[in-house]
Amino acid sequence: MKKILLSGNEAVARGAFEAGVAVGAGYPGTPSTEILENLTKYPGIYTEWSVNEKIAYEVGIGACLAGARTLVTMKHVGLNVAADPLFTSSYIGVKAGLVIVNADDPDMHSSQNEQDNRNYARSAKVPMLEPADSDETRRFTVRAFELSEKYDTPVILRTTTRISHSMSVVTPDSEAAQSPSLEKVRALKPEGFSRDIKKYVMIPAFARERHKVVEKRMEKLTADADSFDINIIEINDTRFGIITSGINYMYVKEAFPDASVLKLGMIWPLPWKKIDEFSKKVGRIFIVEELDAFFEIEIKARGYTVTGKDIFPVTGEFSPDVVRETISAAMGEPLETKEYYASPKLPPRPPALCPGCPHRTVFKILNEMGLTVTGDIGCYTLGVLPPWSAMDTCVEMGGSIGLAQGIEIAGGETAIKKTVAVIGDSTFAHSGISNLVNAAYNGRKGLYIVLDNNTTAMTGMQPNPFSGERITLEASVAVDYELLGRAVGMKKDQVKIVDAYKPKDIEDAIREMLDKDSLSLLVIKGPCVIWKRKRKKKE
């Protein structure tokens, strides 16, 4: 088969296709977004942008229980949203394979935190695989489905930004994708759901039994992990040995091509016999892992002395240089320092709201009005930077409206008149609507502003429940703000929709709604300029 260059995200989609996936669901999030966008290009696969990650995961459980191999995709913080179904889906297991692709973002290239989601595998008791390049990503995706069915468990495929967005050579398995057996898998209508209450209905009596099954499954997986060919021991120079996984394996090989390495392809549970065998063969052991001391703590708990986070940073990404310098220094062989040209200080070039962006006007007004603005996540978070400087908080998706409620409760009348929440349309659909319900239910009187640019711009223009289109761009329902307001008891004048390019209308509406002694929802509508340009090109 011909070699091609694919990004990690494209490789997941390719692998899913080769594995005969029938359903793909997810919520956008850098660096995971392109997986599902690529999966839509393959024939015979149903894909959807779900409203949020929790729902994508639930769709995934249902589809796999009805017999369809299912891929669920999200970024690292997305799994926080989907953590509830994750933990219990570990108990009920699967019927057809269920694979969750979860993209971590060390160094926060495009995220609000740099949590290490390997911890989820341990706490939810599910296996996790981590590939080191695009071809492994493709193969591990197929492997994840096999493991999911063999061990009756959801499997998480973990990537990091450097894997998701880097391109490397892939040799697609054209045979797998066209093999008679796979043709059959695809042609096979999923057999549908069949009742199995002790496995699928997690009331305490049944869940207690299932928890035992989960523990047994992880024991079996731990034992079998020693023979998995994706956990690889490479013995070369034995002065020291390195235990690593994912992109860090590539950095290690770049820095020390002759080092002995234990490369973990399955990063949970750990293959203990392989670790024991490796440690017998090498001198000092280094653990090279970005973010948390995940392997390190486990391996130390087994009684080994290893070097890890005492010399490596917990924050940020690694690189070949970080690995080379840190280990060389620890081995008492520090690298020669060479003087290189140092550049003068340059003005920074941070991302900014595009010229003509519909989000610009409102932030100018909010700045001039000197309001406290609880913000949210999306392009509009750039409203925090000069010249707008009009945002005071940003925590997680949907959080703006929740925080505004807390500020109102603690701050009383004066806070109501001085505080607004600002949230994008995709984010409002994701988890803002439930926050609006909470505000109405609990008698809040704040003003919440939805910045509706008709798309999920931050992550690259995905349609959402307010834009009237699905992932395939076929037409769909567009949620109606006014009816939504009505449904939570808001009167006509408590919900307003204004044009993003009419500053006076926006300002008048904000003043009027802040003056009123009732909950209000202001929707500022104007399509994203990049989205418009892209649409024109298509037409």
Binding site: K3, H165, P351, A352, L353
Partner: protein, 190 residues
Amino acid sequence: MTDKNKTTNILMVGVGGQGIILASDIVSAAALHAGFDAKKSEIHGMSQRGGSVFSHIRFGKHIYSPVIPNHQADILLSLELMETLRWVQYAGPDTQCIVSQEMILPAMVEEYPTGLEDEIKKLSQKTVFVDPKELIKKIGDKKYINVAFCGMLAKYIDLPEASWKQSIEEHVPRGTFEANWTAFGIGKTD
């Protein structure tokens, strides 16, 4: 011919919207078609909104890291003057710099810094500056300028013409191959 056993490291930098990603797709695929192992690393997301953009391209017999080790860039192709200096961590005195004199003011900056060309010469003696206006005049349309820059790059990495041709054909919009191929040729002979 480029030494098959040596790894070639190319860093492309610029500003969101300049077409760095397409240009780096073309270069990495051309290397693949020429029979090399190739990797490419860039970050999509926040950086696109007018921020700095970079792409690491590496090809050779066998490539591990998709990220270029510090100071090992063989070529630094910069589509924006100031951006050249933002990435000196990857360059050294032997780096061949190809630098567009295009100047794009970052948001909130009133005055473009001066003296940058002299600074870039301090970074590496092997620097060629390219006047983007002149180049556009020669190729006739600014749409194809990033492919013309691929042509300039081609002078220093010596991949077979057929590999370039195949790669450009695969990556440019349908109906624009001829114009892009001409732009590439102009870049290569400029």
